[in-house]
């Protein structure tokens, strides 16, 4: 039967893999192709590469990274970060990515999702959502001029979590799926880097409302957190970055634990 996926995420800055905790505090950690091969051998079911290169003239570096990795590693590769147009997406797909994730550009222009899905197929289009719990409901002005507290429990952030938007993360997930996204990659900004577990409330609220696959991101600290993302959050796949990069947990042990907990997993050893 279809298995739950464990996905290491590699943040790439100018061709090198790095990792930030809560989107800051970055530390260099290696060569993309080597790391990709290592994770493949460990049993990674897919790989996500997130380009965090700030300057747009260094973007070509990412195309090279994807070319190099996809010539050596034959598992699905998702690439995100700085994808603004259909052309950006095409370049990544042609370089060897299986899927491309869009985030800020899709918030600015939701039809990008539709256009990309029509041209390349929904299965190529991943909508990445960075969501933050709304601590105090914001006062919003309605179209009739009256004021009320916004209903959103989670708010969408863009630009690597630096910019708040008025978008409700749950509604945005639903709209993204309707526009043709084939998968959602949902990061809890509250949980990210904390190692206290995925935000299962956020995940389960989204998974109850969309029928496309959901990747959980942000907050993993123990093998049990991965299990909970699936059982309590309804996620189809679970993503983690620094936990794997710094060897706190091995992908193989996470997958073994998930399998022992009764989840369908692809075991390779």
């Amino acid at each position: 039967m279809l298995t739950n996926r464990v996905i290491p995420c590699l943040d790439v800055d100018q061709g090198r893999v790095v990792k930030g905790v809560s989107f800051v505090d970055i530390k260099d950690a290696g060569d993309p192709a080597e790391l990709a091969s290592f994770y493949d051998a460990e049993g990674a079911d897919e790989l996500v590469f997130l380009d965090i290169t700030a300057s747009s003239d260094a973007r070509d570096t990412m195309v090279d990274v994807v070319e190099r990795v996809s010539a050596e590693v034959f598992i699905p590769l998702t690439v995100g970060g700085g994808i603004r147009s259909r052309d950006d997406m095409r370049r990544m797909l042609e370089a060897g990515a299986e899927k491309v994730s869009v985030n800020s550009a899709a918030v600015a222009n939701p039809t990008l999702i539709e256009e990309c899905a029509q041209e390349f197929g929904s299965q190529c289009v991943v909508l990445a959502i960075d969501a933050k719990r709304v601590e105090e409901p914001a006062l919003m002005q309605r179209s009739d001029g009256s004021y009320d507290y916004a209903e959103a429990l989670w708010q969408v952030y863009t630009h690597g979590g630096r910019r708040a938007t008025p978008l409700d993360a749950i509604k945005w997930a639903r709209i993204g799926a309707e526009l043709g996204a084939g998968e959602l990659l949902v990061t809890s900004m509250d949980a990210d880097g904390q190692q206290t577990g995925y935000d299962c409330d956020l995940l389960s609220t989204i998974s109850a409302q969309v029928s496309i696959p959901l990747i959980a991101s942000g907050g993993a600290g123990t093998p049990d957190h991965f299990v909970k993302a699936v059982t309590d959050g309804g996620a189809d796949a679970v993503l983690a970055a620094s936990l794997f990069h710094y060897g706190d947990l091995r992908i193989s042990e996470v997958k073994s634990h998930m399998a022992e907990s009764g989840l369908p997993m692809r075991m390779i050893h």
Binding site: M1, S70, F74, P76, S122, Q123
Partner: protein, 219 residues
């Protein structure tokens, strides 16, 4: 096998390059082509595809390739069709207006909505991820390129439509996703996989290696 000519038919689909890289790493030297002459002249061919039915069929129609591919399929030379490449072998698809190649009888329909999995939750569409592939054990369907694959090996799938095959004997393998999804077809020299061997790690590369070995053995 210096003279062995392997054509990867360029359907304009995004996974062409991944297929080419996979064939190269197992020792092949394919030509990615849209030329009817190159395809007609090849000893073996691969028909990859991802994306939407009409996008790929339009690309083939614009280059007047459907007849070339049909003739290739009828010639008995090995033809490996991947994902959408397999789906366009059939007569029609719910996903689009343009008819398929009609090499195999049957049609392509959307995966059924709302079927519950073992967890009780509705199964997701697209069918995305690693799933077990169950081969029928009749020797006629165990094409040489699938011969060494252990039963229920995991392969990577990503699709929202699936093949409803008219002749059950064309179905070589299935995968469970609420229903038994057609995972592979075989009819003589024609082989198709719904999953992506080029994204299925070692097991997938094994299929390209076997296809290469088998095709060269016939040359």
């Amino acid at each position: 096998m210096k003279d062995f000519r392997l054509a990867i038919i360029n359907t304009g689909a995004a996974n062409i390059h991944s297929v080419e890289k996979a064939v190269r790493i197992v020792g092949g030297d394919p030509v990615v082509t849209t030329s009817a002459d190159v395809i007609a002249d090849a000893h073996a061919a691969i028909l990859p595809g991802v994306g939407a039915n009409d996008a790929v069929m339009k690309q083939l129609n614009d280059r007047e390739l459907p007849d070339t591919i049909r003739e290739f399929a009828a010639s008995g030379r090995p033809l490996l069709c991947v994902c959408l490449g397999m789906q366009i072998l059939f007569e029609r698809s719910e996903e689009g207006e343009l008819p398929g190649l009609g090499v195999l009888g049957g049609e392509v329909v959307r995966l059924p909505n709302g079927i519950s999995g073992s967890s009780g939750l509705p199964l997701k569409i697209p069918h995305m991820g690693w799933n077990t592939v169950h081969f029928k054990d009749q020797s006629v369907q165990r094409h040489p390129i699938f011969a060494d694959i252990p039963q229920d090996t995991y392969f990577y799938f990503v699709h929202s439509y699936h093949c409803e095959v008219e002749n059950a004997r064309d179905v070589a393998a299935t995968s469970p996703h609420g229903i038994d999804v057609c995972a592979a077809v075989v009819r003589g020299n024609i082989v198709g996989t719904q999953f992506h061997p080029e994204k299925s790690g070692r097991s997938g590369l094994g299929i390209y290696a076997k296809f290469l070995e088998y095709s060269q053995s016939l040359t």
